[in-house]
Amino acid sequence: MIDPRTSIIDERLRSIHQVVAVSSGKGGVGKSMVAAALALSLAKEGFRVGLFDLDFTGPSTHIILGVPRNLQPKEEKGIVPPTFQYLTYMSLVYYVGDNPAPMRGADISNALIELLSVTQWGKLDFLIIDMPPGIGDAVLDLARLVERIQFLIITTPSLLAFDVVKKQLALLCELKLPIIGVVENMKIDKTNTIAEQTLDLGLKYLGFIPFDREVEAAIGNPTKLLCTAMGKAMPQIKKALVAKKW
Protein backbone atom coordinates (compact mmCIF):
# COMPACT_ATOMS: atom_id res chain seq x y z
CA MET A 1 0.00 0.00 0.00
CA ILE A 2 1.73 3.17 -1.23
CA ASP A 3 0.64 6.72 -0.52
CA PRO A 4 1.24 8.54 -3.83
CA ARG A 5 0.84 12.03 -2.37
CA THR A 6 4.27 12.49 -0.79
CA SER A 7 6.01 11.98 -4.15
CA ILE A 8 4.51 15.16 -5.62
CA ILE A 9 5.14 17.63 -2.77
CA ASP A 10 8.53 18.86 -4.02
CA GLU A 11 7.00 19.36 -7.47
CA ARG A 12 4.22 21.51 -5.96
CA LEU A 13 6.79 23.70 -4.19
CA ARG A 14 9.28 23.84 -7.06
CA SER A 15 8.36 27.37 -8.18
CA ILE A 16 8.75 28.83 -4.70
CA HIS A 17 12.08 30.48 -4.00
CA GLN A 18 12.07 30.21 -0.19
CA VAL A 19 9.88 28.16 2.14
CA VAL A 20 9.98 29.62 5.64
CA ALA A 21 8.36 27.95 8.66
CA VAL A 22 7.63 30.50 11.41
CA SER A 23 7.87 28.26 14.40
CA SER A 24 8.32 28.06 18.15
CA GLY A 25 8.58 25.25 20.64
CA LYS A 26 6.36 27.30 22.95
CA GLY A 27 2.80 28.48 22.34
CA GLY A 28 1.58 32.03 22.84
CA VAL A 29 4.78 33.74 21.69
CA GLY A 30 3.18 35.46 18.69
CA LYS A 31 4.12 33.15 15.82
CA SER A 32 0.94 33.81 13.88
CA MET A 33 1.17 37.58 14.29
CA VAL A 34 4.82 37.55 13.17
CA ALA A 35 4.07 35.20 10.26
CA ALA A 36 1.21 37.43 9.07
CA ALA A 37 3.16 40.68 9.56
CA LEU A 38 6.21 39.25 7.79
CA ALA A 39 4.13 38.01 4.85
CA LEU A 40 2.31 41.36 4.54
CA SER A 41 5.54 43.28 4.80
CA LEU A 42 7.25 41.21 2.09
CA ALA A 43 4.19 41.54 -0.18
CA LYS A 44 4.17 45.31 0.37
CA GLU A 45 7.71 45.39 -0.98
CA GLY A 46 6.55 43.71 -4.17
CA PHE A 47 7.55 40.12 -3.47
CA ARG A 48 5.16 37.32 -4.46
CA VAL A 49 4.19 35.83 -1.12
CA GLY A 50 2.09 32.90 0.05
CA LEU A 51 0.89 32.42 3.62
CA PHE A 52 -0.04 28.90 4.73
CA ASP A 53 -1.67 28.42 8.12
CA LEU A 54 -0.56 24.99 9.30
CA ASP A 55 -1.94 25.40 12.81
CA PHE A 56 -4.87 23.13 11.98
CA THR A 57 -6.31 22.87 15.48
CA GLY A 58 -5.87 26.57 16.31
CA PRO A 59 -5.77 28.59 13.08
CA SER A 60 -5.68 32.35 13.55
CA THR A 61 -4.00 34.06 10.58
CA HIS A 62 -7.40 34.46 8.87
CA ILE A 63 -8.53 36.55 11.86
CA ILE A 64 -5.30 38.57 11.93
CA LEU A 65 -5.68 39.36 8.23
CA GLY A 66 -9.46 39.84 8.35
CA VAL A 67 -10.04 37.26 5.60
CA PRO A 68 -13.69 37.49 4.47
CA ARG A 69 -15.80 34.38 5.06
CA ASN A 70 -16.82 34.06 1.43
CA LEU A 71 -13.22 33.73 0.21
CA GLN A 72 -12.64 30.19 -1.08
CA PRO A 73 -9.94 28.35 -3.07
CA LYS A 74 -10.63 27.44 -6.70
CA GLU A 75 -10.52 23.90 -8.05
CA GLU A 76 -8.12 23.77 -10.96
CA LYS A 77 -6.07 20.60 -11.29
CA GLY A 78 -5.82 20.76 -7.50
CA ILE A 79 -6.60 23.59 -5.13
CA VAL A 80 -5.65 27.15 -6.08
CA PRO A 81 -5.62 29.37 -2.98
CA PRO A 82 -7.25 32.80 -3.29
CA THR A 83 -5.35 36.07 -3.04
CA PHE A 84 -6.04 38.43 -0.17
CA GLN A 85 -4.06 41.57 0.70
CA TYR A 86 -1.62 40.56 -2.10
CA LEU A 87 -1.02 37.25 -0.32
CA THR A 88 -1.79 33.81 -1.74
CA TYR A 89 -3.56 32.56 1.35
CA MET A 90 -4.26 28.95 2.37
CA SER A 91 -5.83 27.65 5.55
CA LEU A 92 -7.90 24.72 6.77
CA VAL A 93 -10.57 27.24 7.82
CA TYR A 94 -11.85 27.17 4.24
CA TYR A 95 -13.03 23.63 5.02
CA VAL A 96 -13.89 23.72 8.74
CA GLY A 97 -15.25 27.26 9.14
CA ASP A 98 -15.84 28.04 12.81
CA ASN A 99 -16.06 24.38 13.79
CA PRO A 100 -13.36 22.88 16.03
CA ALA A 101 -11.01 20.47 14.26
CA PRO A 102 -10.14 17.87 16.92
CA MET A 103 -7.34 16.00 15.15
CA ARG A 104 -4.77 13.61 16.54
CA GLY A 105 -1.23 13.24 15.23
CA ALA A 106 -1.96 10.87 12.33
CA ASP A 107 -4.86 13.07 11.20
CA ILE A 108 -2.67 16.19 11.32
CA SER A 109 -0.01 14.45 9.24
CA ASN A 110 -2.58 13.27 6.70
CA ALA A 111 -4.22 16.69 6.37
CA LEU A 112 -0.81 18.33 6.01
CA ILE A 113 0.27 15.86 3.30
CA GLU A 114 -3.07 16.30 1.50
CA LEU A 115 -2.81 20.09 1.38
CA LEU A 116 0.88 20.07 0.43
CA SER A 117 0.20 17.60 -2.39
CA VAL A 118 -2.86 19.26 -3.96
CA THR A 119 -2.28 22.99 -3.40
CA GLN A 120 -1.14 24.78 -6.56
CA TRP A 121 0.84 27.77 -5.27
CA GLY A 122 2.25 28.92 -8.59
CA LYS A 123 5.35 31.11 -8.65
CA LEU A 124 6.23 32.68 -5.30
CA ASP A 125 9.27 34.41 -3.87
CA PHE A 126 8.32 33.36 -0.34
CA LEU A 127 5.97 30.84 1.20
CA ILE A 128 5.55 31.74 4.86
CA ILE A 129 4.18 28.88 6.96
CA ASP A 130 2.50 29.63 10.28
CA MET A 131 3.34 26.54 12.32
CA PRO A 132 1.49 25.09 15.30
CA PRO A 133 3.39 25.38 18.59
CA GLY A 134 5.76 22.63 19.63
CA ILE A 135 8.03 20.14 17.97
CA GLY A 136 5.43 17.55 17.08
CA ASP A 137 3.88 16.28 13.88
CA ALA A 138 3.95 19.45 11.78
CA VAL A 139 7.67 20.15 12.40
CA LEU A 140 8.65 16.53 11.86
CA ASP A 141 6.51 16.21 8.73
CA LEU A 142 7.86 19.39 7.16
CA ALA A 143 11.40 18.23 7.95
CA ARG A 144 10.64 14.89 6.26
CA LEU A 145 8.64 16.13 3.28
CA VAL A 146 9.83 19.62 2.32
CA GLU A 147 13.40 19.48 1.14
CA ARG A 148 14.02 23.25 1.20
CA ILE A 149 12.33 24.13 4.48
CA GLN A 150 13.98 26.78 6.69
CA PHE A 151 12.93 27.74 10.20
CA LEU A 152 12.44 31.21 11.63
CA ILE A 153 12.17 30.79 15.39
CA ILE A 154 10.05 33.04 17.61
CA THR A 155 10.47 33.37 21.37
CA THR A 156 9.49 35.88 24.04
CA PRO A 157 11.96 37.30 26.59
CA SER A 158 10.59 34.82 29.15
CA LEU A 159 13.15 32.22 30.13
CA LEU A 160 10.27 29.75 30.35
CA ALA A 161 9.56 30.25 26.66
CA PHE A 162 13.21 30.28 25.66
CA ASP A 163 13.98 27.11 27.61
CA VAL A 164 11.42 25.26 25.46
CA VAL A 165 12.62 27.04 22.32
CA LYS A 166 16.17 25.84 23.04
CA LYS A 167 14.91 22.25 22.91
CA GLN A 168 13.42 22.98 19.50
CA LEU A 169 16.68 24.55 18.33
CA ALA A 170 18.58 21.47 19.53
CA LEU A 171 16.20 19.22 17.58
CA LEU A 172 16.48 21.28 14.40
CA CYS A 173 20.28 21.29 14.68
CA GLU A 174 20.27 17.54 15.23
CA LEU A 175 18.12 17.09 12.12
CA LYS A 176 20.50 19.43 10.25
CA LEU A 177 17.64 21.74 9.27
CA PRO A 178 18.45 25.34 8.37
CA ILE A 179 17.60 27.91 11.05
CA ILE A 180 17.37 31.47 9.71
CA GLY A 181 17.58 32.89 13.22
CA VAL A 182 15.72 33.74 16.41
CA VAL A 183 13.31 36.67 16.86
CA GLU A 184 12.48 37.93 20.35
CA ASN A 185 8.85 39.04 20.43
CA MET A 186 7.00 41.18 23.00
CA LYS A 187 10.17 42.57 24.53
CA ILE A 188 9.55 44.88 27.49
CA ASP A 189 12.87 45.52 29.25
CA LYS A 190 16.39 45.97 27.95
CA THR A 191 18.03 42.70 28.98
CA ASN A 192 20.21 40.94 26.42
CA THR A 193 19.73 37.44 27.79
CA ILE A 194 17.98 35.97 24.74
CA ALA A 195 20.39 37.59 22.32
CA GLU A 196 23.41 36.33 24.25
CA GLN A 197 22.09 32.81 24.67
CA THR A 198 21.13 32.63 20.97
CA LEU A 199 24.61 33.72 19.93
CA ASP A 200 26.11 31.21 22.40
CA LEU A 201 24.24 28.49 20.53
CA GLY A 202 25.98 29.62 17.34
CA LEU A 203 22.73 30.96 15.87
CA LYS A 204 21.70 34.36 14.54
CA TYR A 205 19.71 36.72 16.76
CA LEU A 206 17.61 38.63 14.24
CA GLY A 207 16.41 41.27 16.65
CA PHE A 208 13.45 42.02 18.88
CA ILE A 209 9.90 43.23 18.51
CA PRO A 210 8.92 45.64 21.31
CA PHE A 211 5.70 44.88 23.19
CA ASP A 212 3.02 47.09 21.71
CA ARG A 213 -0.62 47.17 22.91
CA GLU A 214 -1.64 48.40 19.46
CA VAL A 215 -0.91 44.95 17.99
CA GLU A 216 -4.07 43.54 19.60
CA ALA A 217 -6.07 46.49 18.30
CA ALA A 218 -4.72 45.82 14.79
CA ILE A 219 -6.16 42.30 14.57
CA GLY A 220 -8.25 42.14 11.41
CA ASN A 221 -6.61 45.24 9.97
CA PRO A 222 -3.41 44.46 8.00
CA THR A 223 -2.67 48.13 7.25
CA LYS A 224 -2.82 48.97 10.94
CA LEU A 225 -0.69 45.93 11.85
CA LEU A 226 2.15 47.17 9.65
CA CYS A 227 2.06 50.50 11.54
CA THR A 228 2.55 48.87 14.96
CA ALA A 229 5.91 48.21 16.59
CA MET A 230 5.64 44.69 15.19
CA GLY A 231 5.12 45.93 11.64
CA LYS A 232 7.98 48.38 12.02
CA ALA A 233 10.29 45.60 13.22
CA MET A 234 9.76 43.53 10.09
CA PRO A 235 12.50 45.14 7.94
CA GLN A 236 15.25 43.72 10.18
CA ILE A 237 13.73 40.22 9.91
CA LYS A 238 13.13 40.56 6.17
CA LYS A 239 16.79 41.44 5.72
CA ALA A 240 17.74 37.94 6.90
CA LEU A 241 15.46 36.39 4.25
CA VAL A 242 16.17 38.72 1.37
CA ALA A 243 19.92 38.56 2.00
CA LYS A 244 19.85 34.85 1.22
CA LYS A 245 21.19 33.82 -2.19
CA TRP A 246 18.64 34.85 -4.80
Binding site: M1, I2, D3, P4, R5, T6, S7, I8, E11, F56, E75, E76, K77, G78, I79, L92, Y95, V96, G97, N99, P100, A101, P102, M103, R104, D107, I108, N110, A111, E114, L115, S117, V118, Q120
Partner: protein
Protein backbone atom coordinates in the same frame (compact mmCIF):
# COMPACT_ATOMS: atom_id res chain seq x y z
CA UNK B 1 -10.49 19.29 -10.55
CA UNK B 2 -8.93 17.93 -7.37
CA UNK B 3 -8.77 14.46 -9.00
CA UNK B 4 -6.19 15.82 -11.47
CA UNK B 5 -3.77 16.64 -8.66
CA UNK B 6 -4.23 13.14 -7.25
CA UNK B 7 -3.74 11.59 -10.71
CA UNK B 8 -0.49 13.53 -11.10
CA UNK B 9 0.67 12.24 -7.70
CA UNK B 10 -0.25 8.64 -8.67
CA UNK B 11 1.72 8.82 -11.93
CA UNK B 12 4.68 10.49 -10.22
CA UNK B 13 4.75 7.88 -7.49
CA UNK B 14 4.38 5.00 -10.00
CA UNK B 15 7.23 6.48 -12.07
CA UNK B 16 9.50 6.53 -9.02
CA UNK B 17 8.65 2.90 -8.27
CA UNK B 18 9.24 1.92 -11.91
CA UNK B 19 12.67 3.58 -11.83
CA UNK B 20 13.56 1.83 -8.58
CA UNK B 21 12.40 -1.56 -9.91
CA UNK B 22 13.99 -0.92 -13.35
CA UNK B 23 10.69 -1.31 -15.22
CA UNK B 24 10.69 -0.25 -18.87
CA UNK B 25 6.87 -0.35 -19.03
CA UNK B 26 4.20 -0.24 -16.35
CA UNK B 27 1.49 -2.72 -17.39
CA UNK B 28 -1.00 -2.47 -14.52
CA UNK B 29 -1.70 -0.16 -11.59
CA UNK B 30 -4.32 -0.95 -8.99
CA UNK B 31 -5.56 2.19 -7.27
CA UNK B 32 -7.75 2.09 -4.20
CA UNK B 33 -10.13 4.99 -3.70
CA UNK B 34 -11.42 5.39 -0.15
CA UNK B 35 -15.11 6.21 0.19
CA UNK B 36 -14.46 9.05 2.65
CA UNK B 37 -12.69 11.26 0.09
CA UNK B 38 -15.40 10.68 -2.54
CA UNK B 39 -12.93 10.73 -5.43
CA UNK B 40 -14.80 10.36 -8.71
CA UNK B 41 -13.27 7.27 -10.45
CA UNK B 42 -14.35 8.48 -13.92
CA UNK B 43 -12.58 11.83 -13.53
CA UNK B 44 -9.53 10.16 -11.98
CA UNK B 45 -9.31 7.68 -14.89
CA UNK B 46 -9.70 10.46 -17.45
CA UNK B 47 -6.98 12.53 -15.74
CA UNK B 48 -4.64 9.50 -15.66
CA UNK B 49 -5.19 8.90 -19.38
CA UNK B 50 -4.60 12.55 -20.22
CA UNK B 51 -1.45 12.95 -18.13
CA UNK B 52 0.27 9.61 -18.71
CA UNK B 53 3.70 9.50 -20.31
CA UNK B 54 5.23 6.76 -22.51
CA UNK B 55 6.06 4.71 -19.42
CA UNK B 56 2.30 4.19 -18.97
CA UNK B 57 1.44 3.84 -22.69
CA UNK B 58 -0.17 0.39 -22.26
CA UNK B 59 -1.02 0.58 -18.56
CA UNK B 60 -4.33 -0.80 -17.34
CA UNK B 61 -5.58 1.37 -14.52
CA UNK B 62 -7.76 -0.58 -12.09
CA UNK B 63 -9.64 1.81 -9.82
CA UNK B 64 -11.35 0.08 -6.91
CA UNK B 65 -13.52 1.63 -4.23
CA UNK B 66 -12.81 0.89 -0.55
CA UNK B 67 -15.44 1.19 2.17
CA UNK B 68 -14.65 3.75 4.82
CA UNK B 69 -14.81 2.56 8.41
CA UNK B 70 -14.69 4.90 11.39
CA UNK B 71 -13.93 3.73 14.93
CA UNK B 72 -14.71 5.74 18.07
CA UNK B 73 -11.71 6.08 20.36
CA UNK B 74 -13.96 6.71 23.37
CA UNK B 75 -16.55 3.89 23.26
CA UNK B 76 -15.07 1.63 20.57
CA UNK B 77 -18.10 1.77 18.25
CA UNK B 78 -17.29 1.01 14.62
CA UNK B 79 -19.47 2.42 11.84
CA UNK B 80 -19.48 2.97 8.09
CA UNK B 81 -19.13 6.42 6.56
CA UNK B 82 -22.44 7.39 4.97
CA UNK B 83 -22.28 10.17 2.40
CA UNK B 84 -26.07 10.47 2.30
CA UNK B 85 -26.09 11.83 5.87
CA UNK B 86 -24.01 14.89 4.88
CA UNK B 87 -25.05 18.13 3.21
CA UNK B 88 -23.22 19.03 0.00
CA UNK B 89 -20.93 21.68 1.56
CA UNK B 90 -19.74 19.26 4.26
CA UNK B 91 -19.27 16.45 1.72
CA UNK B 92 -17.19 18.80 -0.44
CA UNK B 93 -15.01 19.88 2.51
CA UNK B 94 -14.31 16.21 3.36
CA UNK B 95 -13.58 15.53 -0.33
CA UNK B 96 -10.74 18.07 -0.24
CA UNK B 97 -9.33 17.19 3.19
CA UNK B 98 -10.81 13.95 4.60
CA UNK B 99 -9.56 14.74 8.13
CA UNK B 100 -12.03 17.60 8.44
CA UNK B 101 -14.56 14.80 8.98
CA UNK B 102 -13.62 15.30 12.65
CA UNK B 103 -15.30 18.71 12.49
CA UNK B 104 -18.59 17.33 11.19
CA UNK B 105 -19.02 13.64 12.06
CA UNK B 106 -19.64 12.29 15.57
CA UNK B 107 -19.76 8.76 16.97
CA UNK B 108 -23.36 7.55 16.48
CA UNK B 109 -23.33 5.98 19.95
CA UNK B 110 -21.56 8.42 22.31
CA UNK B 111 -21.37 11.59 20.18
CA UNK B 112 -17.58 11.95 20.39
CA UNK B 113 -15.62 13.51 17.49
CA UNK B 114 -12.56 11.53 18.67
CA UNK B 115 -12.63 8.70 16.16
CA UNK B 116 -10.10 6.91 14.03
CA UNK B 117 -10.42 6.69 10.24
CA UNK B 118 -9.77 2.95 10.37
CA UNK B 119 -10.02 2.35 6.63
CA UNK B 120 -10.97 3.93 3.32
CA UNK B 121 -9.47 7.39 3.85
CA UNK B 122 -8.06 8.64 0.54
CA UNK B 123 -6.27 7.29 -2.52
CA UNK B 124 -3.45 4.75 -2.44
CA UNK B 125 -1.58 2.41 -4.76
CA UNK B 126 -2.34 -1.21 -4.02
CA UNK B 127 -0.26 -2.83 -6.74
CA UNK B 128 2.01 -1.99 -9.67
CA UNK B 129 3.12 -4.42 -12.32
CA UNK B 130 5.44 -3.98 -15.24
CA UNK B 131 7.96 -5.38 -17.68
CA UNK B 132 11.65 -5.19 -16.74
CA UNK B 133 14.53 -4.42 -19.04
CA UNK B 134 16.03 -7.64 -20.44
Amino acid sequence: MHEWALAEAILNSAKQIAEKEKLKQVTEITIMVGELQQVEPGILRFALQQMKTDLFKNTKFHILKAKSTLKCRVCGTTWQFDLKKLDSATAEAIHFVPEVAHSYIKCPKCGSPDFEIASGRGVWLENIEGAKYA
